[in-house]
Amino acid sequence: MAAAAPVSLAEQRRAELGRLLRKKYKYLDRTWDAVFWITAIFIVGAAADITKLLFAGDWDFWTDWKDPEWWPMVTAFAVVIIPSALQYIQWTAWRFPTGATYTSVCLFACTWIGRYFQWHVAEYYPLNFIWPISTVGAGIFMDWILLKTGSYIITSLVGAPIFGITVWAFNYIPLAPFLQPVQFMNHIVTVADVQGIAYIRSQTPEYLRHIERGTLRSFLGEAQYVSLAFGSTLAIAGYWVGQFIGRYLSVWPIGKYIKNY
């Protein structure tokens, strides 16, 4: 047999990386993985929930606030931030397109626990009035786009708007029964409006709600689509807020202690 074909330096280096990838560690070979993924559930869930509360507040709380104009706009921006930060961390560190899905799954678990125990059991609100939105489906799409492009810039420009629109689309489906018209107190209102009136919120007066109070009304009354377009553009900005958090606030301090190549 002839001697093996000469291998280029670059190829040697790739093979070296492959060996490093499969290197067996004596201690904590996979334990750290479990420790990380499980302990981070509540930290990531809480971070995502706080961000959502901060920017979207009541819009993701009551069915009568999930309106055509503000809901698609503020939630898209609010819920893309932490998924973006986690995408940066998990893709950069492990090449896992999991940041958005992981955040969404954690947020889903935390919010449902909160809504069920704090608001349904302790405060008597029916769950069909206070169900939270889910960002899981949209998170999968955004992670898939990161996997396919390997680029934060393309993910922000394409993935974040798709995330914003599909967050709305996935949650508009369960909202539909609450948009049916009802005859109530001499008015035609939606089921959601009746919920908002019936289930008394002493500290959330009706005037706090902004039902199409913006200036989008000239679009043939279809504020919803204008809102979606604008909201998905805002999601690009939200994505970069998240990148800032991921790159500078959470990873940079660690970078001071690990070796950089």
Binding site: R30, R95, Y152, T166, P181, F184, A198, S202, E206
Partner: protein
């Protein structure tokens, strides 16, 4: 050990006494509001909450009036928008009907100084318990101003709570169960796909036996982020195939869900709101009031107001009532006092001097009223930058007509609390 036991005993005793104290006091922390927020802003009168003992599903009616006083304090935003709503501990009642000045009110109302808002709210008992019920008047920029409260007992019922609504097509639904568990199952299905995605990427299995997480950093730290290391197996062809498959399933779920939604609920409208200016009830002006100062004695909880009342009407009138914030003081017998509002928030009033004023005449009178509620509800400013009170003086003429006159007076406590710090 012994001292530790004592410590726990003390903590326990403190906790028990704290909760029982909190229970005997009134329920919504309304006393926390400053006096000027209660007595310079609005006055609640003729409030009735009945019946006070119902079963789940039965109605309780709140009626009454609230007047926005011309003394609205300069420290607050002007009164422009308000929402009339019951103040109860959460949705233990479900509101069924509401009118303001006779007009059905699904949303907020436009208000102004001197405006009078007669409200009626019907709510159904929803959760068994003993609940403190107040009418509330939430003003944009100011917060929820609370009227007098009444304890209402809601007893369990053999039938579960139901709130029927009629859709436009005539179908009736129970509001408690609209949408059924559809919201949950739909969201949960999406969640499960997300869990599958996470499992695929993080847990070693037949799909990727060599899967590891944190140790990947040793490799990725040496690569730019666009480099997926597909040639040496950092991210594999399988990873791409499976991820695309899961994303496709997610997309299919969205499309199927959307088609189902469109076929099931083709009729969907925008959420509705209705804001209006309630028509004002007719009022008869009968007189004028000039305040000559008031004094408050915290030891006896007694408020004394000196004033001059002038009758500008055609008939003689009599001073009947003084209402400050949520409290009403009544010049009359026990029955008249009881009729004027929830028992904890009404008390008798003494009128010294001529309570009856002839047309064209002016009388100097002194109003004297005592109630511990003045302190308990913090209606009197004793530690505030505005030592001022305001309220409504009600007079009734010989034809039976009633009129309210705003009274604003400086206040002087017989003593201020001494300060040591």
């Amino acid at each position: 050990m012994r001292t530790r036991l004592w410590k726990w005993f003390l903590i326990f005793a403190f906790a028990v006494s704290a909760t029982s104290y909190a229970r005997s006091a009134f329920a919504h922390g309304e006393a926390a509001d400053e006096p000027f927020l209660k007595n310079l802003t609005v006055a609640f009168y003729d409030v009735h909450i009945s019946p006070t003992n119902i079963k789940v599903g039965e109605p309780v009616t709140i009626t009454g009036s609230v007047k926005v006083l011309p003394t609205w304090p300069f420290t607050l935003d002007p009164p422009v928008t308000a929402y009339v709503n019951p103040v109860v501990p959460g949705p233990v009642f479900a509101l069924r009907d509401r009118t303001v000045n006779g007009v059905p009110a699904i949303g907020s109302i436009a208000i102004d100084r001197n405006g009078i808002y007669n409200f009626k709210m019907v709510m159904l008992g929803r959760v068994p318990g003993r609940w403190h019920v107040h009418p509330g008047f939430a003003v944009d920029g100011t917060g929820t101003l609370i009227g007098p409260g009444q304890w209402v007992d809601v007893e369990p019922s053999a039938t579960p709570f139901k709130y029927e609504i009629t859709l436009l097509d005539g179908k009736t639904l129970d509001l408690e169960h609209v949408g059924g568990s559809g919201v949950w199952w739909w969201s949960f299905a999406g969640f499960l796909i997300g869990v599958v995605w996470m499992f695929y990427w993080t847990v070693p299995g037949p799909w990727r036996p060599d899967r590891r997480t944190v140790h990947n950093l040793a490799v990725t730290a040496q690569l730019p982020t666009w480099d997926q290391g597909r040639d040496f197996g950092l991210v594999t062809e399988g990873d791409h195939k499976w991820s695309t498959f899961i994303a496709a399933v997610t997309l299919a779920m969205l499309v199927i869900g959307w088609l189902y939604m469109v076929s099931q609920y083709p009729l969907r409208i925008k959420q509705q709101t209705d804001r209006f200016t309630p028509p004002q009830p007719e009022v008869t002006e009968m007189g004028q009031v000039k305040a000559l100062g008031s004094v408050y004695n915290p030891d006896t909880h007694t408020l004394t107001i000196n004033l001059e009342v002038k009758n500008t009407g055609a008939n003689p009138f009599t001073i009947k009532q003084f209402t400050m914030g949520m409290m009403s003081f009544v010049n009359g017998d026990k029955e008249a006092v009881e009729k004027s509002g929830p028992p904890d928030f009404v008390a008798p009033m003494q009128v010294q001097g001529n309570a009856t004023v002839a047309p064209g005449q002016t009388e100097k009178v002194t109003l004297k009223m005592s109630s511990e509620m003045l302190d308990e509800e913090r209606l009197i400013p004793l530690n505030d930058p505005q030592e001022i009170i305001a309220g409504l003086l009600f007079v009734q003429d010989t034809s039976g007509k009633t009129s309210s006159i705003t009274l604003r007076s400086t206040l002087q406590p017989t003593e201020f609390a001494k300060k040591y710090f």
